[in-house]
Every structure is written in structure tokens, then in C-alpha cells.
Point group: C2
DNA sequence: GTCATGTCTATAGTCGATAAAAGACAGGCG
DNA sequence: CGCCTGTCTTTTATCGACTATAGACATGAC
């Protein structure tokens, strides 16, 4: 039986919406609520029904008005609003982090299903999805093995990233003066400066800002395969960094300043400057990634071998 | 309940093996049969049991000997030896071909499941897998829409292919003289010449030879993302060509000669010659792909717009 | 000891059922 | 006529059951 997480999320969102209003106000028609909550009218109707039962709103026949403001207890617990997929995703990440999975190790789908209290099919689906990023592989017998995020993996990822992003950055100059990207670029620059204003409090926001910049740059290539790869890269970086938070603050600080230089170069439309800034930043990113891998491995007492980084050009 | 296609395939393979032998001969131990049929001993045991029941072999306690040679009727029908996944794949391809699916059209998973007489879950899994190649996409509501193989898709695919393959081809010269790739390259060249010897009969074999050459070249980059993309490209080309066989023979003939030039260039290790041959061949491949798309579309009475091909460099 | 076989257990593939959610349609109110 | 709502149908997400297959262990023959 499918979980009603969509309903619960919509319910909570709706409560948050009501909190912004005051007693006696109308909360709008079903259709418009459906649109603003991004769910179907069917779901909205369930939500409204519950709201009436709990005397938060009342329907006098011609309009629905707020009777009382919601209290914290009215909200569904956060955990219940997750889809099974999201739940598995979180637990799987924790599992990988805590168990220190080593490359080549087998992933036992059935055990995961027991551990996470979900059905085997759900695990199966999740692993299928997750395998797209290349960190696990399927054996002919059907079982999964962990590929592991090692130096080679990181190098190959960075090589392709560099090929694609240089290509995209070069094409960035082709955008017309009145194109929307320039506004988006400015907004991203402001987001960087905003992070720096109170860096201690805000540095955790960096990954989000990072992704938005690189996505914007890659959008210049107008190529779905390049964009897809960038999404993949985001996902992998996300996994890796959630597994390894050492030096996060320092490395992000460096990256922010490289980004600002990169952004300025893009705006200047100076091809040479763009290329220099791109190569420099991508190079640092590669080095930080590799360095954090080394630290991680050496922490586990493995021998770290330093293969010379392949140059992509 | 899962299908016993593995068993049936192993059974048929085993019969084929027995056909090569004669009455009275031993057919080997369970473990060795399991290895040669690439299945588990459990499956081999089921197969042997059936063979005994049907009096094809007999077990006198110390060895299993052939009693009679199999007749065509002993084999399981070909259709039953397909896995559900393979079955769906075939029917889905036919479906797409016959129904002339247009871009943007919705794929109804439930209808497919009824039409193909398989469970909805199986269709769901297949679509998930198939979506990896980018020809269908998932909407937030969970339904699937057909993206369609249009000019843009083909251009973007070819752009990335060109970026990757030029990179790989350039690196090909780095293989040592005694590396196994040179032998593989020679074998592929011989396969091309063999095709030409009796082209009328053998031209259908071209796609296979084509893939082996491009895979070999891409292996030079030693990058799992590049290799994965090449597999994807193979799949997409495979789909496209199975949907569109117009001029297949002629376009493959041209391609074979370009391949021979490409192979010679790789062997010469002349970077300039390699690049020229690669660019030339990839360019023709792009043009044939686009041309066949135009033909396909104009056949359906759509207007064909000729967007200028984006140069990747 | 080595290999083959019998037996048992664990895991994967597939299905069908069921509730949740989406979406279509028609009638009613302004 | 446009928008809102009640009702119904279709489709999706998830589960749990069931069988095929893989793999482990133990026993026995040579």
C-alpha cells in the first residue's frame, strides 16, 4: 500500500500557509490551493477535510474561513512526510557512512530491506536508481556490489567534468546581452557575497550555491547529456561531502573566491580570462576532492598511492 | 512468481551441447556443466532431472550417459527462453515502431502492461531502465512521456560523442607496442574486410562490428563515464536503426570504408591523420543520422526544419 | 586430499492486490 | 460563460507472497 506522504506534506504546507494569515480570512478555492501546493485537487480535498475536522477552518457553504491558527502539534511529524524513496535514500547514505563500506563489498538488498523496514522491492528500485551514478554495479546474478569512491573514480569524474565545463564556459560568451542568464549570474554572485557576509553561520549553504553556478554555466552548452552529467556530478559530490566533512569550511571559502573570479571572467566575455579561471577552479576542485579522499583512506589505515593526475588536454 | 527462463535456456543449451556428442558418451559433472552453461548447479540439476525423465540421458549411479539424441521437439520454444525484461524490451520496441509515437506523447504504463500481458511492476522497471538513455522522461506525477528522437536529440548526442571520441582517439597513440589493443584492432579490421567479401549477405552484421571498433577506441580514455556514454550511444543507435532501416546497406558500406581509413590512421600513430579520419567519420555518421531522421519525419508529413549543425569546436 | 553429489538456506525476480493520488466530467452558482 | 465543487475513473506507489536461482555446507566415493 503506498504511503500517504504526499497528503501529509501538503497538509503541513497548507498549515504553514495558514500561519501567514489570520483568523477569519478565506483560504482560497480547491483548484488554486492545488496549484500552489503542487498536488492534485483530490489531495487538497483530503487536506481540507482534515482541517475542518480539526476545527482549523470552517466551511459555511459559500467560503472556507480560518477558525483558529495552527499549533505545532497540528503538523505531521517531519519523518512521516518523506516518501519511501527519500527515506531509503537517507538511510542508505547513513548506512554507507557508518559501516565504512569498502570497494568490492557486496550489497545485500534483503538485509537492507530488513534494516530499513521497507519492502525488498523498494530497496531494489532504489539501488537501480542509485546505480546510475556508478557507485554500485549490478552483477549478472542480480546482486549488487559497491564500486567505491576511490582515486580513479574521482579522477575520471573530474576529467569528464573538465571537458564538459570548459566547453560550456567557452560557449557562455555567445549569450546575447539581454539574455536572462546575465541576471541569473548576478544573482548567483550576490548569493556568494551574502555567504561571505556571515560566513560562519552560512557556509553550510555553499553546496547549493555551488551547484547553481555550475548548472548555469553548463546550461550554455544546451546539451541534455552534458546537463545530465552535471546532475550526476552534483549527486556524487553531495554523497561524498556528506560522508566527509573534514575541512569543509576552509575548502568552501577558497572555492567562493575562485567562483567570484570565474563569474567576473564570464561577465567580461574575455575568452582567455574565462578559460584561465575555469581551469584554475576545476583544478582546485579536483585537488580538494583527491586530498579529502586520501585523508579518508589514510584514516582507515589503508595505503594511499599517489597516481599522477591525468591531464585531459 | 518469477519465470524459469534461465532453466529453459540452460536446458536448450544443454541439448545443443548433447547434439554435438553421440549416444553412450558421458556428459560431464554437474559443476563443470554449470560452468559451461553459466548457471548455478541448482539449475543444472533441474535440467539433468528433466533429461532423465525424458530418457535423453541415464544415470547408472557412477556416470550420466546419453541414451538418445534430442529431436527438435525436445527444445523449449524460443519465446519461453526470454526473460520478462527481454520480452518487454522487444515488444516495447515494436510498439514504438508500429504506433509511430510522437514526441511529448504520454506513455501509459498500465496500458502497456495489459497489452504485453505482464505485470505493471515489470513495465515500471523496464521504463526506469529505458529512461536512462534519455528517450523517455518521468514527470513529477510519476507518469512517463516520450521525448522522441528528434534533430536536437541527435545533434546533442553526436556533439558529446565527438568530444569524447576525439579525446579517446588522441590518446590511442599512447598504447605500448605490445599492448593487446593492437591485436584487437587488427581483428576488427579483418572483421570489416570479411564483411566486404560477401557484403550482400553479411551487411546486417555491421552494427556489431561498428560497436566493437568504437568501444575499442573509447577504451583508450580509460574513463568509465566515457565508456558508459558509448554504451548508451550504442543503445540509442540500435533503437534508431531498428526503427529505420532505409538505406541501411548503402550507409553501412560508406561507413566500412571510413572505418578502414580510421583504423589505418590509428595504427600509423600519426596524430594528425587520426584526427582527420575521426572527424571525417564522425561527421558522416552525424549526417547520415540526421538525414535518416529527416526522411522519417517527412514520411510522416511533418515539416522538416534544417537547423544548422552546431560545431563542437 | 580432491572432486562429485545431496541437502539446505538465502537471495533475487515476478506478480497481483490495495490504498493513494491524479485527473476527467458534469452539474450548479455567480 | 467562467469558476467552483461533488463524483467517478484511471493510474501510480508500495507491499507481501511465491517461485526460480544462486550459493554454502556436509557427506561420501575414489
Amino acid at each position: 500500500m503506498r504511503s500517504n506522504d504526499v497528503y501529509k506534506r501538503a497538509f503541513n504546507d497548507c498549515l504553514s500557509h495558514i500561519e501567514q494569515l489570520s483568523v477569519g480570512e478565506e483560504i482560497g478555492a480547491e483548484a488554486s490551493l492545488a496549484r500552489s501546493l503542487s498536488v492534485s485537487r483530490t489531495t487538497v480535498r483530503s487536506v481540507l477535510e482534515t482541517l475542518e475536522e480539526r476545527r482549523i477552518i470552517a466551511d459555511d457553504g459559500r467560503s472556507r474561513r480560518i477558525v483558529r491558527l495552527p499549533i505545532p502539534n497540528d503538523f505531521f511529524p517531519e519523518a512521516e512526510t518523506q516518501s519511501v524513496h527519500a527515506l531509503i535514500e537517507r538511510r542508505f547514505m547513513d548506512f554507507v557512512l557508518e559501516e565504512n563500506i569498502l570497494p568490492g563489498q557486496q550489497v545485500n538488498a534483503l538485509e537492507l530491506s530488513r534494516r530499513f523496514s521497507v519492502s525488498p522491492s523498494a530497496i531494489r528500485e532504489y539501488l537501480r536508481d542509485f546505480s546510475e551514478c556508478g557507485l554500485i554495479e549490478r552483477r549478472p546474478s542480480g546482486s549488487w556490489i559497491f564500486v567505491g569512491f576511490d582515486r580513479d573514480f574521482a579522477q575520471e569524474l573530474c576529467d569528464v567534468r573538465q571537458i564538459f565545463e570548459l566547453e560550456s564556459a567557452r560557449r557562455f560568451v555567445n549569450f546575447a546581452d539581454d539574455d536572462a542568464v546575465w541576471g541569473q549570474l548576478n544573482a548567483i554572485e550576490r548569493a556568494h557575497l551574502w555567504l561571505l557576509e556571515d560566513y560562519d553561520a552560512r557556509h553550510v549553504e555553499f553546496p547549493h550555491v555551488d551547484n547553481s553556478l555550475h548548472s548555469l554555466i553548463n546550461s550554455a552548452s544546451k546539451n541534455r547529456f552534458i546537463n545530465r552529467f552535471d546532475n550526476l556530478r552534483c549527486l556524487i559530490f553531495h554523497c561524498h561531502y556528506s560522508w566527509n566533512k573534514v575541512d569543509e569550511k576552509e575548502r568552501n571559502f577558497v572555492a567562493i573566491h575562485e567562483h567570484l573570479r570565474y563569474i567576473a571572467a564570464l561577465r567580461s566575455r574575455d575568452k582567455r580570462a574565462i578559460e584561465d579561471a575555469a581551469i584554475f577552479h576545476l583544478g582546485t576542485a579536483r585537488q580538494t576532492l583527491l586530498a579529502s579522499l586520501d585523508r579518508r583512506h589514510s584514516r582507515h589505515g589503508e595505503k594511499v598511492e599517489h597516481t599522477p593526475g591525468l591531464s585531459v588536454c
